[in-house]
Symmetry: C2
Subunit: 245 residues, 2 copies
């Protein structure tokens, strides 16, 4: 892992850009830690939604709250074709969403490569003394669940997860069913009652398939992107409670 | 309204038993206020579940937390054939549940009489100086929603409600549909994913019918009676946020 550019320090929080090189891929990320952090602490991995990036507003806000209020570390990486991995000429949000939907349906390596990106980043983040190998949480909605569900299923270090805004749909339904059953950590699942992208019935099916014995679903009125701010706060409280032990 | 017996004062919380006489009915209740309360404050009405009473553990615990943490007032009344209104020889919980189910299905006046009991109690509670006519909330699950949904629909003073553990079922489905549409205050609805008494699909239907534009649903894994303690805390936080203004 290499840090890129200068540290940004604001209000006691250090933000660092990093790159993890994995074969021919470069995985760009952001790491947030308390400015004066020493030693191991809980780490929350944050997966952004389609057409967003590691640096989008709600990702940064969540990461900063986790650091500020709980002294956790938080990290986000760009999804495939997003953020610093955006393809030339494909940076319009609507176009990006369409291109993503297309490759999600057609590239069978997409998910496994993104999981490998996350796991490579996790290994290298844990080698940083002020992160260390403490409890790990995952937070990701929509595309952050498309990749997060299989990641949480595969990575036994993840001890708590916030997922949602996705249903039991996708190019490989058998895989979703298997991955959902393999998710066994405490889970908070978010759903938007009037979600125009993932119908609530299919989200209920996905929640039902998840193997965790400790799981809860929060549904709010509104469309896909209209998750209320107090629900974001609830996700942060949930992760804090689970990972602080 | 008359107070019955002696005040109970513990840890800064005064608990009083009261009776409201309404025609031939006597409505027995409990009122919780801060010991040294002066002047108007938010009031939460708490409706217990079938086979319980105004004095059961989770009712008392919720009331005491609302008083202790937020300086609210809280009040509970016994449901028909429950608590101090239990019929002679019908005090076994299982038997009580069965008798309740029977009269719910057969006595068309049951719901309206209970709503009238609540409204009579509310009027008299608001005449007490240390309660006053502040914002009113309602909290009730299962039988507390069977009666609470029509109460919240009818009583415009109720500005926030916690309902749940009930579905779009009952002896008068047309009435449930109408009452649900008439509920327009901010709402938190609880659901148990493996509820053996009210299937989740029917609870989703009821939630969907509720007229409030500001509504959210929290579902937890487990059976009807297995609502986790942190969810009780979430309901209390919700009411505090809504009623404190």
């Amino acid at each position: 892992m290499r840090f890129v550019g200068e540290d940004d320090v604001q209000r006691g929080i250090r933000t660092r850009r990093f790159e993890v090189v994995r074969g021919e891929r470069t995985v760009p990320g952001l790491l947030w830690t308390p400015y004066d952090a020493q030693g191991q602490r809980p780490l929350v991995l944050i997966g952004h939604g389609a057409s967003g990036s590691k640096a989008e507003e709600y990702v940064v806000a969540l990461a900063r709250r986790l650091v500020h209020r709980h002294e956790f570390a938080a990290a986000a990486i760009d999804g495939p074709i997003h953020g610093d991995r955006t393809l030339p000429g494909a940076d319009d949000p609507t176009q990006l969403m369409m291109v993503f939907a297309k490759i999600w349906g057609s590239d069978p390596t997409l998910t496994d490569e993104m999981i490998a990106d996350w796991r490579a980043a996790l290994t290298e983040l844990q080698a940083i003394p002020e992160v260390g190998a403490g409890p790990v949480g995952y937070w990701g909605l929509s595309m952050g669940t498309i990749f997060g569900l299989p990641l949480v299923a595969a990575e036994s270090q993840i001890k708590a997860a916030v997922l949602g805004l996705m249903g039991n749909v996708g190019p490989t339904k058998e895989r979703i069913i298997k991955d959902a059953a393999d998710v066994t950590c405490p889970l908070l699942f978010l759903l938007q009652w009037d979600d125009e992208l993932f119908k609530r019935e299919s989200a209920f099916e996905l929640f039902d398939l998840i193997g965790s014995s400790d799981k809860r679903l929060h549904a709010n009125k509104g469309t896909h992107a209209a998750v209320p701010s107090d629900e974001f706060e609830a996700t942060q409280t949930f992760l804090a409670r689970q990972l602080q032990g």
